[in-house]
Symmetry: C2
Subunit: 171 residues, 2 copies
DNA sequence: CAAAAACAGTTGTAGTTACAACTATTGCTT
DNA sequence: AAGCAATAGTTGTAACTACAACTGTTTTTG
């Protein structure tokens, strides 16, 4: 693997910098929280991708699509809603779904009453693959989170993040 | 802007699904925390990118490089350490730094004692641009975080995330 | 009801990224 | 000291993504 394997060096540098009271660019608590958020997110994504490729599973975005569609009523979702849920562009989603359709994991279905909309619908193959992948992903997340976080702390974390997102999305 | 603007629809679906006790695929607290983490991260990244492009600033990865290098001693950093801090591949960093060098924001310097290593070093132009961008980024983060989070909560959030990353990086 | 505006999704293109193979330098082994 | 392994960084290629322009459908409006 060519993936960079972690990020502790920067923290040392930053905290050293801060403790010697040096920089004229003191950072805010919120900025620090943002830094921790990005780095933690990237580290976990990296860990998941590493695990998936080692297990010969499709990449993480595929899993996210399958997991999201599977949770929707009737295992189908409008393209626009799916793009919004995954926080990617609609153009990008079109091509991502194309690949999943070609792999037989999704199929496109259409709306009778509004012929503009199309749905991404889970196929049996997609459902099966998701059932295979989910335990592996959950397990990986468990070791990442559960080692240092109780369930209560995890819930608190989720709540905090959701509230932040709520205000971040106040478009 | 073609960016998807938020993600509340999915939450509704998920919570509806959960409250009617329907799915045979109950999710764990840690899985929920992960979902909140990804979505919040993506939403804030989106918000920042939108702001930067509206203000005719370079994209977010450029800012992250500049900000990271600026915090290092002597405003310079080894390529490998920089890649690790940004949690991207070294190959990707090479080309990213290429672009920043071409824009006059960084320059490559070399190590006397070990001729393998090269440093990314901040130029005056890079320092100036960072000084322009930083307030804008900080302000954007303030509105995203500060609306729903006290400083104490932000610190707690940072601490929680750091501890998660600590175990996630136990390679 | 016809024209215009809004909406849902796709396509074309360019920029960015990751992955793997490669070069060059240093450290280790005997 | 010669040879082998490990390290630092770059490069080539393929895949992915965003952005903008486009087609087709529905809704609004004059």
């Amino acid at each position: 693997m060519e993936q960079a394997t972690a990020g502790k060096a920067l923290d040392d540098i930053v905290s050293a910098e801060r403790s010697r009271g040096g920089g004229d660019h003191a950072r805010s608590a919120h900025g620090d929280a943002w830094g921790a958020l990005t780095r933690t997110h990237a580290a976990i994504v990296q860990r998941l991708q590493e695990m998936l490729s080692a297990a010969d599973f499709p990449p993480l975005p595929w899993y996210e699509v399958l997991a999201t569609v599977a949770e929707a009523p009737q295992e189908q979702m409008r393209m626009g809603d799916l793009a919004e849920a995954l926080v990617i562009t609609r153009g990008g989603l079109t091509k991502l779904v194309d690949r999943l359709v070609k792999a037989g994991l999704l199929e496109r279905t259409f709306c009778e009453t509004d012929r503009r909309v199309s749905y991404a619908t889970l196929t049996p193959g997609g459902r099966d693959l998701l059932a295979e992948m989910r335990p592996a992903v959950i397990a990986e997340l468990e070791v990442a989170f559960s080692a240092n976080l109780s369930v209560a702390q995890a819930n608190e974390l989720r709540q905090t993040l959701d509230s932040v997102r709520g205000s971040a999305c106040a478009s």
